[in-house]
Symmetry: C2
């Protein structure tokens, strides 16, 4: 596998860089605007750390932009000024169309469908890698690269990835918000959040085997208006900002519920 240049040394950059290195793919350079961040990662993966665009190695087989969504276009412009016309450039964002890089002749996306924490190692082989490119032969390059680091590689076009991202907002961001509300409710009564951990883990475990629709339980799906009203009363009495959300989510689970004030 030819050499790769990694732009960005945040969570995604760090995990991806390490995994590429571990799987025998040479990462030539790590770029970060903060050289200390570039150096920390570069040291681990035998790469060169850089923080200036003009230092960019121009012969890499692939340039991977592991930067925040709103930086993709600008970083793209910065590296385009340095690179030959045939340079192949991808970003790693689930939310951004590949066309954010259409200034390049060869562009694409190399999206890891996982959430990363700085410290925690993850089982990379199970992470879905979603690739696409504007040219079929480049899509093949990304597919092969993906297969080096994961057992689950999918060719996913811009539209599909956008939809996947919306679904992930519900399954991850909104789920986490529900956890946070739950945490806050317990905290107010000095009850430990740990009490809910087995329930949370079991809920996540269950949906590997059952569809979420089959798993729905609770007062809303049962149409248990008395319990719902008690819960709403409590949220109101404690001035919770989440009363209306409780109502909306309950109505969403069972639209025929009559719980208007």
């Amino acid at each position: 596998m030819p050499e790769v240049v990694l732009i960005g040394a945040g969570n995604v950059g760090t995990h991806l860089g390490r995994r590429l290195h571990d799987c025998g793919i040479a990462v030539r350079q790590v770029f970060s605007r903060r050289i200390s961040k570039a150096e920390r990662l570069a040291r681990q993966i035998e790469a060169q750390a850089i923080d200036q665009w003009h230092e960019l190695y121009t012969e890499a087989a692939l340039y991977i932009l592991a930067v925040s969504d709103d930086a993709i276009a600008e970083v793209g412009r910065n590296i385009q000024a340095q690179l030959p016309a045939e340079a192949f450039v991808v970003h790693t964002s689930g939310a951004t169309p590949s066309t954010a890089l259409q200034g390049f002749r060869r562009y694409g996306v190399f999206y890891l469908l996982q959430t990363f924490s700085r410290e925690k190692a993850v089982d990379f082989s199970a992470i879905p890698v979603c690739v696409s490119a504007n040219q079929p032969k480049d899509e093949l390059i990304l597919e092969k690269l993906g297969q080096k680091i994961s057992d689950r590689v999918f060719i996913i076009n811009d539209h599909e990835r956008a939809v996947l991202h919306i679904a992930a907002v519900f399954a991850n961001n909104f789920v986490n918000h529900c956890f946070q509300i739950s945490h806050q409710i317990l905290e107010r009564e000095q009850l430990p959040f740990e009490l809910l951990q087995p329930l949370i883990q079991e809920t996540a475990r269950k949906i590997t085997a059952q569809t979420p629709a089959d798993m729905q339980t609770g007062p809303a799906v049962r149409g248990d208006v008395a319990t719902i009203r008690r819960h709403l009363d409590y949220l109101e009495a404690t001035n919770s900002p989440y009363r209306e959300l409780y109502r909306q989510l309950s109505k969403s689970i069972r639209p025929s519920l009559k719980i208007e004030d």
Copy 2:
């Protein structure tokens, strides 16, 4: 440990009955209105199956009502007619006050904070058992019984349990609804829900170590209005019933978001 009578052979009754038996606590009888259900469980735990109130053994140390919330009061009345005044009766509901059984001189709650599926075995020793009783010495009996079947026993009063239940609605029922919406969004585009499984599992794993507030990611918390608008447009274009909920949840994550139509 003296004998127990179990009223109800549904998911909770079945898992609890088996666990009690496995931990050396004698279950004398299993009651179910459907004798076949009572028999199926009773066979497994060397108990007698009954479906008539007048068959109730009157000398048990504890009567455990593992029945649905709305059946607790009625079942309580039915067994009260059969039992001596000093009978000790508890229910297993997170949503119902112990006072639903206050017709008894000795009453309480023995609540397993977990979701059960018929087939799947669970790690019972990690399940929080939340107990309370109207008399301190009975609370001690429940605490000891809890400790036989789990490492995590808590004395939780009616108010605390009600709050715990609200928190569980967010952390379990509403989370599952978010999974279901996610599932539905992917299904429409014929994308497999399995793509999101590693993300979901990692999200659940993470909150064993971090607080949900620290873990919040996504367009809402970043204030990424452009992405949110794209997502809302997609939900509108596909006539999704979840557009308004997406908006509400995003606003709930970051109240200062300007995403009104």
